[in-house]
């Protein structure tokens, strides 16, 4: 089994490499050793600013910095980036269309022991509702490296969702290329399609392997970009498999499940189930145990897959 790495760690190293571009500046809110922007900060101290525990000001300053041709990467936990910083991201960055990259780490339940106040299960919904925002949630460390390069090249506001937990590499598949807005197929199959984002892509692959043993061929789509959504891949999956399961470490409302169901309802209504947090707050506990208790594991995806297959055959 490949070595596990947290997406935030891969991110930190990747940002440091990007630092060769003098336009890149990094701002953090006293969590640089957690978001891993500290690596960039040590290498490029003149272009790193610790703003203290003041997310709103950091995001606003980034807007100002970007008007001087800089590409600011701003860092906070997802809860305090997308949650506390929502108004600043919307009005100071997205409305004027400024080139700022908002990095929200420690997203979802897998923050673990810190509990509900730090487990953001709404950030995808909040960020995707803002016009002009691009929302990205990489599956593993390898993909994070690709995503960071891509968002630095992309002109415009981006929200990048990263996790605390170390995860296996699942994107080392043949022919892998990273493109913003293009889903990556991790498993072929035509009985059911599992569309997953973030660390749930790993769970989806595990689910597909389990289903295979029961003779069910599940397609797995890694949806690293939630907005703009790869609608073509979603509709193709619906047409070719006839049923869909989404999987995310986020509230099932407004996130990946929400956006996929919108596309299906308008373009190709098929049976679907949304695996994710069922409109509840998180709680303290071991990350893996939490995912189990909240029914967002490979086993839950398998169960949902079987249900939608039965439903489509009716």
């Amino acid at each position: 089994m490949a070595e596990k790495i947290a997406t935030r760690h891969a991110y930190g190293e990747s940002l440091e490499k990007l630092g060769e571009d003098p336009r890149i500046v990094a701002l953090d809110t006293d969590v640089s050793t957690c978001t891993m922007s500290v690596i960039f900060g040590k290498r490029y101290p003149d272009r790193f600013f610790n703003c203290g525990i003041a997310e709103a000001n950091m995001i606003g300053m980034a807007a100002g910095l970007s008007t001087f041709g800089y590409i600011p990467f701003v860092h906070a936990f997802a809860m305090f980036m997308a949650g506390r910083g929502y108004d600043q991201i919307r009005n100071s960055i997205c409305y004027p269309g400024l080139n700022v990259k908002c990095i929200g780490t420690h997203a979802g339940l897998s923050v673990g022991e810190d509990g509900a106040t730090h487990q953001c299960v709404e950030d995808i919904a909040l960020m995707r509702a803002i016009p002009g925002m691009t929302v990205i949630c990489p599956a593993d460390g390898k993909e994070t490296v690709e995503a960071v390069r891509a968002i630095a090249r992309y002109q415009g506001p981006v929200y990048l969702r990263l996790g605390r937990l170390a995860v296996e590499t699942v994107t080392d598949v043949d022919g892998y290329t990273y493109q913003i807005g293009k889903a990556v197929q991790l498993r072929q199959g035509s009985d059911v399609a599992i569309i997953a984002t973030g660390l749930m892509a790993g769970e989806a692959v595990r689910a597909a392997d389990m289903l295979k043993e029961e003779g069910i061929a599940a397609r797995v789509l890694n949806m690293h970009t939630i907005k703009p959504l790869d609608e073509e891949a979603v509709l193709k999956a619906a047409e070719e498999t006839g049923c869909i399961v989404t999987a995310e470490e986020h509230n099932v409302m407004g996130g990946l499940g929400g956006t996929v169901s919108e596309v299906l309802a308008e373009g190709c209504p098929v049976p679907m189930r949304r695996i994710g947090v069922q409109d509840r707050f998180g709680r303290s506990g071991d990350a893996r145990e939490l995912l189990k208790q909240y029914h967002i594991c490979a086993e839950d995806i398998c169960l949902a897959a079987k249900k939608v297959i039965v439903q489509k055959e009716k």
Partner: protein, 267 residues
């Protein structure tokens, strides 16, 4: 006076707009744009220009007329203020309006952008000033003080903040709504060079800008003592005129007062 008259015409055509807070800062705009700021109206994106952020973003009734009178765009464009087919949005809009350096409107946010600009200018090694006008009600927003903390700690001496202290906000006087206390002491404790001046005295205000620019090693804050709705007798100091549109009779009186004052000034 021209800024006020042009602004009032704009509100009359749009049937909406914030007059009170715009009229309290008319002299501030006039000194900045016609005297102190290093700008090129025919080249609005000139990268070495001084920057201006209207943190109290609702006061476009002062900003847009100033930009038009200074030559950033044709005054005829003011007819499209707040209109569906125009770009002169109710709150300041940078994407489509030449001369606007930051989109603002959500109170408390503009000053942070100005701090970011001051930092950006320093990083780029550019010798320019960044100006930001805040409302004295606006500074109730916590983000303003986050920004002050950063600007003070980083000694951003190219940043000149201005509080348009007209003492009145939407619901009533600042004292009634939420007393902001001793502003001089507050800003000083955040590391600012603080000056208090009469915001309607153009010479005194211009001198304050000169002193602020000369001050090295710390950011500046100018507390401009002003009157909300300045220049129109029935609006002065009245919270009711924060965002209200006058009726026909009131417009007549208001224009008469403004023209009379302009005449007295020999304009």
């Amino acid at each position: 006076m021209d800024i006020r008259i042009t602004g009032l015409k704009m509100v009359q055509r749009a049937h909406s707009g914030h007059i009170g807070g715009a009229f309290s800062m008319s002299e501030i705009m006039s000194v900045l744009y016609f005297d102190k700021m290093n700008i090129r109206p025919d080249e609005p994106d000139w990268e070495d220009r001084d920057r201006f952020v209207l943190s109290k973003g609702h006061c476009t009734v002062a900003l847009y007329p100033t930009l038009a009178l200074r030559g950033f765009f044709a005054p005829e464009l003011l007819d499209t203020f707040r209109k569906i087919d125009g770009h002169l949005s109710g709150h300041a809009e940078m994407r489509y309006v030449p001369g606007v350096d930051m989109s603002t409107g959500s109170l408390g946010q503009g000053f942070s952008a100005a701090v970011g600009m001051a930092l950006g200018a320093k990083l780029r090694g550019k010798d320019l000033s960044v100006y930001a006008v805040m409302g004295d009600g606006e500074i109730q927003e916590g983000q303003i003080w986050e920004a002050c903390m950063f600007a003070g700690a980083q000694k951003l001496d190219n940043l000149i903040g201005i509080v348009d202290s007209n003492k009145v906000q939407l619901d009533g006087t600042v004292k009634e709504v939420l007393d902001t206390g001793d502003l001089r002491q507050k800003f000083e404790s955040f590391g600012f060079f603080v000056q208090s001046v009469d915001g309607h005295d153009v010479e005194a205000f211009a001198d304050a800008i000169d002193r602020a620019k000369a001050e090295k090693g710390r950011p500046s804050m100018i507390i401009a003592d002003t009157v909300k709705g300045k220049g129109i007798s029935f609006m002065e100091g009245q919270s009711a005129w924060h965002g209200k549109t006058p009726d026909e009779e009131q417009f007549k009186t208001a224009f008469a007062e403004l023209y009379q004052r302009a005449e007295e000034l020999g304009a």
